[in-house]
Structures are given as structure tokens and as C-alpha cells.
Symmetry: C2
Subunit: 651 residues, 2 copies
């Protein structure tokens, strides 16, 4: 099974695209016609360039509006095809994609269409080329793969086969179940595209908003499983029209592309194994189990270590300089954290409260300090609890995450670690290592908290509820795929929130146990606070924007935090009046919230109380949250926070 990608899926000149595609270890490309037409070299030169990079040119798509045409137009189409066959032979491209006709001049006569496709295939055969016919979702007569397949069958030529594209099937809500009944050798090529579910014209959707498998909301695992069960073993290819990818640095896009295929393959491998073993929910027939078994034996689907359950966010590490270390430490103490240890050899301090551990790293020469120098104070690393850190890192590595190896001092623990997109380090921490999450070895404990007279009183904060990332626009899909494929998180709803200076798109992801939650925020505007913070990260394009800390009694916690002079974002009285108008809430409760600047949201399952601190050095802030059977992030209240931040917090 060859992995390939269409050149339209990424930015740059054709040479730059091929170099990026080769670097991500694809086997081949689909050549997008305009890329070739505008290429400053001949077909032969392009073929040599691709070959030098180890890439085949597996597909070319130079014909549109072909089948079912009146005779005169058909004659012209054949002339066009012969000229394009010349190009394909010079390119060494064996397969031409012909998608279903959209022209108002086309005729719905199946006999005519089949005859014309037959003639095209016959001419291709003379040159040892093949034709693949694909149903376009907005084709005039042929929209569904089943219709395209009937035409291919009717045309009945060995050099004519079917091409499948998941977008065209799933965007119309068509069921891919029938694919497994098509003879696999009659399917010549398969294109796999995901997409967010958008309520828009399917052509516009297709041309601007596709993305890689795992970045959108289609059920591609089902589609790909059915394709494999047909016996298909040709290319697994990506043809992605996406406005953002057109401007994203193409090395990153190519890695995302390959990661998306590896992830899809590994997920479908597991599905097929369950089918074969009869451990799927539905009881499969023996024939189906047989098909799954033969598919698994025939196709080398990618097989990384499985994602392990995560047990929580063990710690966050902040990169600072000496001055910021003092200021941040002071803020942590106001928030009720106690200094729990100093690093045995470095300028690193550990703070603790409840199950939360925060590390402040000002060590000269460290990566944390280097990150401070580039971006100012920021979260440079986080720890995720898992039962088998080495295995978690191996999975990440198999799915193309870079490993992170820090310099290690004497007696220091090395945690398996990887680099998230944009440079944040993710350490995997053994769950069995007790409540210090494996960090004990690195830190010399402070005098016990009880014995320190100046130790702050805890404020009741128990755990890191979630971390919210501020992302550059072109980082959103990259992070979505990273969180799903590498970390095994599942996305919730995607929302748009109004900042006074533009829209923010926000999507939360969580693990099944809800002990690890991340929110991805991207500013669609260049002028919001989020955009300014992301822009301060330079090329990284990603930084922790806020950190939500969970407590059991937010009224008690907020009372203590305010007593410690923690400054919170003030919320307008109008907000509370509106709460009373909208929801059936006790007025005294609402007035208590108002007194403490606590915001409120309600879902069908539960309630969410939360408040925001003012930002630290204008870079990140904290959210204090209490969750009562509530699974969201209070997004409805984000505009109140953003408006208050822009109004300078006066009341």
C-alpha cells in the first residue's frame, strides 16, 4: 500500500512541495494540474526531479467534464486527452483521474457516458495508461460512488476503474458500506480527506475546508475499513484543498499528512483485528471475519504501540529568568501554593498545592531559560501521567513526534519526553511513582510546610483541570491531530467566541477519564489579545494561554485567594442581571458570584463555576474552576472575560 499526497495539499513552489513530501517519507505524489502547468521545467525534468527524491508520480488529473458529452465535444475531449496522455507518458504517470461531469452540456444518458469512458480507456490502453473514474459530490449526473461504479461496470474495459474519495461520499452523508462489495482490483485509487462539518455549499466546502484524517469530523475509519475489505491494496492518498494549508510552512504540513495516514492505518488495523477476533460490538459473520483476516495478512497497516490511558497532568514547568522566577513564585504563593522543593543542582523550584505541581525553571543554559529568552515567561513543558512512559514516548515517536532528550545532572530522573508542535515539551510520568510523579529524586524537599512559619495557607486548589493553548491560525489542525493521534484525546464541540477585536475559535479535547483536558484557541483576527500573545511566541505559534485549576468549593477558594490579594478579572454587573433573566437561579447565589467575580455556565448534565485571574506579565493567566458533572469549558463566558480585559478591568 503506497502512501501518497496531492501537490495541491501544501504551499510553495512545486520543487519545494516535492522536497517536503519526500522528507516526510511519502512514496508518491498526485500531480495537481496547475502545479505542472506553472512549473518551470518540462515533464521529463519533473519526472527526474521526483525520481531523485524517491517519489513516484502516481496520478495526474488533467481532464474535467469528460463523459456524456455531445459528439462534437466528445471529439474535442479526446483530442485534449491525447495531448494529456503525451504529458503523462513523459511524466511516467500511469493513472489519469477523470471526475464526473459537472457541465450543463453533459447528458445523463448512461449508455453514452459508458461508451465514451470505454473509448477513453481504450486509447489509454494503447499507451499502457489507465483511467480512474470518480464521483464528484456536485457532479451533474453522477454524485455517488455507486453511480460511478455502475458506469465503470457498464463501460467494461480493463483499463478503466473506480476512484474513491472519502470527501465526496461522506459530505453527502452517503453510506460507504457498499464499498466492500466492489471487487478491490477494480478500485484504482483511494483519496482520503477529512473535514469539519460545515453547513455550506458542498463545492465551496470541498475547495476550501478539507483537512487530513483526524483533523475533521468524518468517520474515516469506517470508510477506510470498507475500502480495505473490498480487497483494495492500491494507494492511500491525500487530496486536500485547504486555504490554510496553502500558506502553512510545507514541511510541517507534510509531517501532519504522514501522521494522519499512520494514525488512520493504525486505528483501522485495530478495527480489523477486533472484527477478525469477534471482539467487536456487532457479531460479524464468519465471512466478514475471514475478510478481515485476509486483509490484515495482505496489507502492512501501520502498527505503533497503542495509546495508553492518561492519568492526569502531573506538572507544568515554566521557563523564566531570575526576576520572573521571583514574581511568578510570589503569585504561586498568593494562589496558595507552597514551595515544596529546590532542584538539587539547578535554579529550579517546585510548588505544590493539592495534587498540583508547578515548576519554575530559571536555570541559565537550560532549554526552559532559552525559551524565556525567545518568548518571555511561558509554560515550556508539562508532564502527563501514564502507566508506561517509555511506551507512550515510543508511540509518539512512531507517529512522528520528535523525542526530547534533556541534559541530565547526577541523580536526576530522566522522563521519556517528546516535543509538541511549536516546542512545548511533553514528559511522560509513571503513574506508579507516587504523588510527586517521579520528581522526588530531582528535588531537595523544603522544610515541611507545617514547620515553615511563612508558608502560605492552601486555598483549596486540587488539580489541573485543563490547559488552554493559544495557537496561530495555521497551528490549529496540527494540534488537533497531535492531541488525537499522539495523546489519544477526543475533541468536543468547536465554537467561535467574540473578542472585542475579532473572533476566537475554540475546541476542547479530553481523555476518556477526563483527567487530561486541553483547549485549543486560535484567533482568526490578528488584533485580539490571544493573537498578540501568540505572535509574541514568534515562529512557535503555540503557547499555554491559561491554566485552569480545579477546586471543590469555589466560593471558599475565591474568598481565600482574594484575601491573598490575587487579582481577578472583574465581571460587569450587567452579566449577573442577565444570568437572572436567562436562568432560573437563586438571586442570593448570583449576588455571591457577583461579589467574587465568579462566572457561571450550565449544561444538560451539570454546572460550572469559574473565575479568571489577571494575566501574568501579559502572557498567561489562571482560571479557578469548580465542575459539577459538567463536561465543557464555560466558553459562553469567554467574551465577558475578553471584554473586561480590554476595558482595562475598571469597574
Amino acid at each position: 500500500m503506497r502512501r501518497s499526497i496531492a501537490t495541491v495539499s501544501m504551499s510553495g513552489t512545486l520543487r519545494q512541495k516535492l522536497e517536503a513530501i519526500a522528507a516526510a517519507r511519502f512514496d508518491a505524489i498526485e500531480l495537481f494540474e496547475n502545479d505542472f502547468i506553472n512549473f518551470n521545467g518540462s515533464a521529463t525534468e519533473l519526472r527526474a526531479m521526483a525520481a531523485d527524491l524517491g517519489l513516484g508520480i502516481d496520478l495526474y488529473q488533467p481532464l474535467r467534464d469528460f463523459e456524456g458529452m455531445p459528439d462534437e465535444l466528445f471529439r474535442r475531449n479526446l483530442e485534449r486527452a491525447e495531448r494529456k496522455f503525451d504529458v503523462m507518458q513523459a511524466l511516467g504517470a500511469p493513472l489519469m483521474l477523470v471526475c464526473s461531469n459537472t457541465s450543463p452540456q453533459s447528458q445523463g444518458d448512461a449508455e453514452r457516458s459508458a461508451a465514451q469512458l470505454h473509448e477513453l480507456a481504450e486509447r489509454a490502453a494503447r499507451r499502457n495508461l489507465r483511467i480512474g473514474f470518480e464521483a464528484l459530490a456536485w457532479g451533474r449526473w453522477v454524485k455517488l460512488y455507486a453511480q460511478a461504479w455502475r458506469l465503470v461496470e457498464r463501460a467494461n474495459h480493463p483499463h478503466l476503474g473506480l476512484i474513491l474519495d472519502s470527501f465526496h461520499t461522506l459530505s453527502l452523508g452517503d453510506d460507504p458500506a457498499g464499498i466492500k462489495d466492489i471487487p478491490g482490483e477494480r478500485i484504482f485509487f483511494v483519496q482520503m480527506a477529512d473535514a469539519p462539518l460545515l453547513a455550506m455549499d458542498v463545492l465551496q466546502w470541498a475547495r476550501h475546508h478539507r483537512n487530513f484524517p483526524g483533523q475533521g469530523q468524518f468517520d474515516l475509519e469506517n470508510f477506510f475499513e470498507k475500502t480495505l475489505l473490498s480487497g483494495y491494496d492500491g494507494n492511500l492518498s491525500l487530496e486536500i484543498f485547504n486555504d490554510v494549508f496553502r500558506e502553512t510552512p510545507n514541511r510541517r504540513t507534510a509531517v501532519d499528512a504522514m501522521r494522519s495516514l499512520l494514525y488512520l492505518e493504525s486505528q483501522v488495523r485495530r478495527r480489523l483485528e477486533r472484527l477478525r477476533d469477534g471482539t467487536d460490538q456487532d457479531a460479524p459473520s464468519d465471512a466478514l471475519r475471514e475478510m478481515a483476516d485476509s486483509t490484515l495478512r495482505r496489507i502492512e497497516l501501520f502498527d505503533p504501540p497503542d495509546a495508553l490511558p492518561l492519568g492526569g497532568i502531573a506538572f507544568l514547568e515554566f521557563g523564566v529568568d531570575d526576576e520572573a522566577a521571583v514574581a511568578l513564585g510570589a503569585l504561586f504563593e498568593q494562589l496558595g501554593f507552597a514551595r515544596a522543593g529546590r532542584h538539587r543542582s539547578k535554579a529550579v523550584t517546585l510548588y505544590r498545592q493539592g495534587g498540583i505541581k508547578l515548576i519554575v525553571n530559571a536555570q541559565p543554559g537550560s532549554d526552559a531559560r532559552a525559551r524565556f529568552d525567545q518568548q518571555g515567561p511561558s509554560v515550556c513543558a508539562l508532564g502527563l501521567v501514564t502507566s508506561d512512559p517509555a511506551r507512550a514516548a515510543n508511540r509518539a515517536s512512531a507517529l512522528l513526534s520528535a523525542r526530547y532528550d534533556s541534559p541530565r545532572g547526577p541523580n536526576e530522573l530522566r522522563l521519556p519526553a517528546i516535543v509538541a508542535p511549536g516546542g512545548t515539551v511533553v514528559h511522560f510520568v509513571p503513574g506508579a511513582a507516587g504523588d510527586v510523579g517521579g520528581l522526588a529524586a530531582d528535588f531537595v524537599p523544603e522544610a515541611s510546610e507545617a514547620s515553615r512559619t511563612d508558608a502560605p495557607a492552601a486555598c483549596g486548589l486540587q488539580a489541573i483541570d485543563h490547559i488552554a493553548m493559544g495557537l496561530a491560525n495555521d497551528q490549529f489542525d496540527t494540534w488537533m491531530l497531535f492531541c488525537r493521534a499522539v495523546l489519544g484525546l477526543q475533541p468536543g464541540e468547536s465554537l467561535e467566541l467574540a473578542d472585542p477585536f475579532g473572533l476566537i475559535r475554540s475546541c476542547g479535547l479530553a481523555n476518556a477519564g477526563r483527567s487530561v483536558r486541553m483547549v485549543l484557541n486560535v484567533s482568526l483576527s490578528q488584533r485580539t489579545r490571544t493573537a498578540r500573545q501568540v505572535s509574541a511566541t514568534g515562529r512557535s505559534g503555540a503557547s499555554v494561554h491559561h491554566i485552569a485549576l480545579r477546586c471543590d468549593d469555589i466560593f471558599a477558594a475565591m474568598t481565600r485567594l482574594r484575601a491573598n490579594d490575587v487579582r481577578f478579572v472583574p465581571i460587569s454587573g450587567n452579566y449577573y442581571d442577565d444570568l437572572l433573566a436567562r436562568l432560573d437561579l437563586d438571586e442570593p447565589l448570583v449576588r455571591r458570584m457577583q461579589a467574587l467575580d465568579i462566572l457561571y455556565d450550565r449544561s444538560t448534565t451539570g454546572e460550572y463555576f469559574h473565575a479568571y485571574t489577571e494575566a501574568f506579565a501579559d502572557r498567561f493567566f489562571f482560571e479557578i474552576v469548580q465542575r459539577n458533572d459538567y463536561d465543557g469549558y464555560g466558553a459562553v463566558n469567554a467574551p465577558a472575560r475578553m471584554a473586561s480585559q480590554e476595558q482595562g478591568g475598571q469597574r
Copy 2:
């Protein structure tokens, strides 16, 4: 007739919005609920702030999903309404907008809906408030203004009236003709929104892509005319949900907003005058002529000087320093221009060829030189031919363009001039002033071209065909409105073109006589060449990106230009092979084009031949064009140019 705007239409905090709205001389605002809920002050404080700025709060929209609800939800809705009435009284807002219900819990029973609206109006009446009911295009039961009007009639309460929103009517393709038969005093408020024609879900279209009248493609003049003929004389208001406006500097947005209303009023005034005078195409009935007459006598519709026909682009002026003046002059001579004069007192040189005049201005202390200092070499001014320059400038001024007064030396001509968005100066040049367009007075002629032995031979360039502007994303709507309202140009089709690093949106505008053409190009990506050039203009966000010069025989012209060593953007041989495959063209003709890097396009009416020079100082370039009954701009070929430019021009 009060002019107002909804606060959701612009960026910023509520205070900043009100200040910008007041500065653009609106009479009032519509208060968007979230702006109030997140405002750091009370309703009373907001009322005082608006009053200080001379703004009324004419409308508030705090209720959704009101009518046609089951009894229990209706009871809750009334409680909600009473709380919102409290707010309205404190705000001094006399009118509440209620839009048609979208809730799945709503019932289609007209009797129930009417009764509930009646009860709401009765409660409003007790507080001397009024209710306006509006059909939302995606309402569950009520989508059309005629349906909303039937409910209002049925509810039959003097404090309940109809609210119209052009978006909801025109987005559904509904005919506004029936509006004129609704009693005007029963229409409580009118919202006017334009929009580009997009094939997408109407709710998403409405929430993200509306724009100001004259910026989109709706027939708002017809809609507004029908509204006025009803006898309506309430607010003319703007409620614009637009993602880009949310991040555009709000002073500019507010001026655009007011300009759009003034333009709409003036256009509809002319329609009504034609109706009254019977000079319209259709022969109106006496009753209709009577209605038009009474409307014109009743409403003070804005009445600027009419737009005058433009007679061409008289000249372009380039801001440079001494070094760039030499380089640019050398390029002009290669292009076949002759030095035709030196300014009598300044470091300014005039170049001429055919009917084209180019001015190079390096005068220290001049605005042109200041522009060079900010942005590098650029077109800083242009001249448009018109029969009455003072009147043209007066129209621009009435439509809120800033006038431009340059310092004038002795014996210099002062042309009436205005400032286009972003700072380019537009001079109006009298058409009667002969072929030097009124500039003769300023320039001392060079020795006649024939007598100069080193004078370059002309290359056959005859006229400025069009100028293409590179615009920042948030400048597109501003420029569209400026070109239509101030210059009287009409837009053609809007297209998206693929640059190797992102998409470019492009729209051409022209006058009726096609002697003035402008193309607006905006890069949706931050990484294209266009985006980089626009970004070099700093806050201006607008600069001339290329200048198209027309000739009668492009093969002869290109041969001469190449002989003069003008460098052209090389075009791939694959482009010409594809031309032969796509179109029925003579192969020898195509090979002649190929030899000269001439691109080709064809429309239903004619043909277009064109070629691009390499960029001057990486800032702007020239296009050589030949038009044969062709009305476009060869946009289909722009990707070939952009790809070649990125490939560094090697062949």
C-alpha cells in the same frame, strides 16, 4: 430619518465603538446585547455616555425565541422580558427587537404567537416601550416579512410593529415589492445589510459575511425604495455581522458605514425622482408617481453632486528618492517612454508615450517623497479625467473623502484632489485641458522628442488599461465602497486565485465607458508576494500592485520592449501546451506567444493577450495588454505569473 448602526458592526470596547460612531456623525446606535452585558458600567452610565456623544440608543435586542411557545415557557419569557424592560428604561431605549422564533419547542400556531406578541406589547406599553417583530431568514415558522407582518396585524396592538432587515429578505431571494403596501407607520425600524452572494447556509452567511450597502451584491436600492414608498420614515440602520469588521480599526469602519448610507440614500433619491418624473424605464402609475413625490417631499434623502462620467486615467505619479528616480526613469525609457518635461520648480519629471503620462516625483519635503520614505517606491497619486473636477471633488467630499491640498508653487496648477483609503491621492483632471491633462502649466517641456538623439523609440503603448491595487484584507470592503460610491465604478465578478503561498481574492471595477478600470487584489494569506508588498506599506494597507498598459499590437510591442532589454516574467512551456489542449488555437500563434511570454485568455465576447514585467524594486510591476472586445483582466493567468515569480524566474 435617523441614521443608526448596531454596535456589533465594529471592533473595540463599547466605549471605543460609541466614540467612533459619534465621530462619523450617526444619530443613534442599536445596542447589541453582549456589548451591554460585558460593559463595565450600568445602563444609566451607558445612557449618559451615549448622550454625551450625542447618540440615542434607539433599539435593543435582548429577547430571542419568544413567540409561539408552550404556556410554561411563555411565562418564563415574560419574566425575562420584564427584566429586560427594566434595562431598556434605564438605557432610555424605546424599542425592543424580537426576531422570529428558531426554537424546536416553538409551535406554528399563529393564534398563539399573535396572542403572545400582543401580551408582550401590552406589557411594553405599560412602560411606554414598543416591540418590533422581525422575520429571521432561518426562523422556524416565520421566515418572510409578509409572514411577520401577518402576525403583527393579527396581534393588533399599537405598541407592536414590524421590523425589516434587508438581509433576511434578499438572502432568501424574496421580493421586497410588497413592502410598499404595508402602512409605513406600522414599520418600526429598518435594518439595511448588503452581502456577497455566497452559496452557504443562510445562518452562517448572516453571522459572518454581511457588509455595508454598496459593498456586496444585493439590490438594496430597490429594497429601500419600496420601504420608503410605504411611508416609512423611521431609522435607516445598519446591523452588520462581519468577521473582518470585528478586527478593522473602528474609525474607518464607522466612516464606511456612514458613507454607505449616504450613497444608498442618494441613489434611491435619484430612483424616486425618476419615478416621480416618469423618466424611469417602466411607465409608473399616477398613484406611484404621487407616492414618489410625497416621499421625496417628506424625507430628506442625502443629495450629493452626481457622479460625473470619467474619461480615463490622466496620469500616475510615483513617489521616489533621487536614486529610485534614476532607476525608474531608466525603466520608463526601456518601456518606450520619453522624458516630456521637467517641473518648473521641483525634482519632478514627466514621461509620456501615446496617451500615457507617468510622473516621477523625488522632490524633498513633498508628500510623494514622504510616502517613499515610509513605503519605498510606490504610486502616490493618480489623475482621473472628468468634465468638472471641482464637482467631482465635491461629490467625494460629500461622501466623506478627505480633500487633499498640496502646497502649490508659483504658476502651478492646482487640481481638485481627494485622498483614497490608505493615502493614495486622486486628482481630478479637466477633460477639456487637452492631451496633457492640465499638467502643461507645471512642466517645462524637454527638447522635442524628435530632436533628442538619445530619445527612446516608443513601443506602441497607448493608454493605461487598468491599475491593480494590493490591499490588506480589511481594506477590501472599504475600497469596494470607495470605488463605487465616490468614483462611480461598477464591480465585475469576484475571483479567487492561487498563489504558491495562499489565495488571492480579486475583483475588477470599471466605469461605464471602460476608460477607467481598477482591480482590487487582497491576499487572504499572510505569506504571498501580494501580502508581503501590502505589508511593506505599513498602516496604509493599500498600494498599486501593478499597472497595465494597453497597446494595439502586443506582438510588435513585446518585440520592441524585449529589444530594449525589459525583463518579463517567464512563462512555463507547459502553459502553452495546455493552451493548445484546452482551446482551439493555431499552434504557430501559440508558439509566437510562447517565444514572447505572452499569456492568453478568451471570453464569450473576445480575447486578451498580456505579459508581465519583472517587479521594480520588488514593489510593483507593469502588464502589457491587448484587448480585443474582452472585458476582464486575465485573472485565470495570474497563478502562472505568481508561480513564475516564486520560482525565481528561471526557465
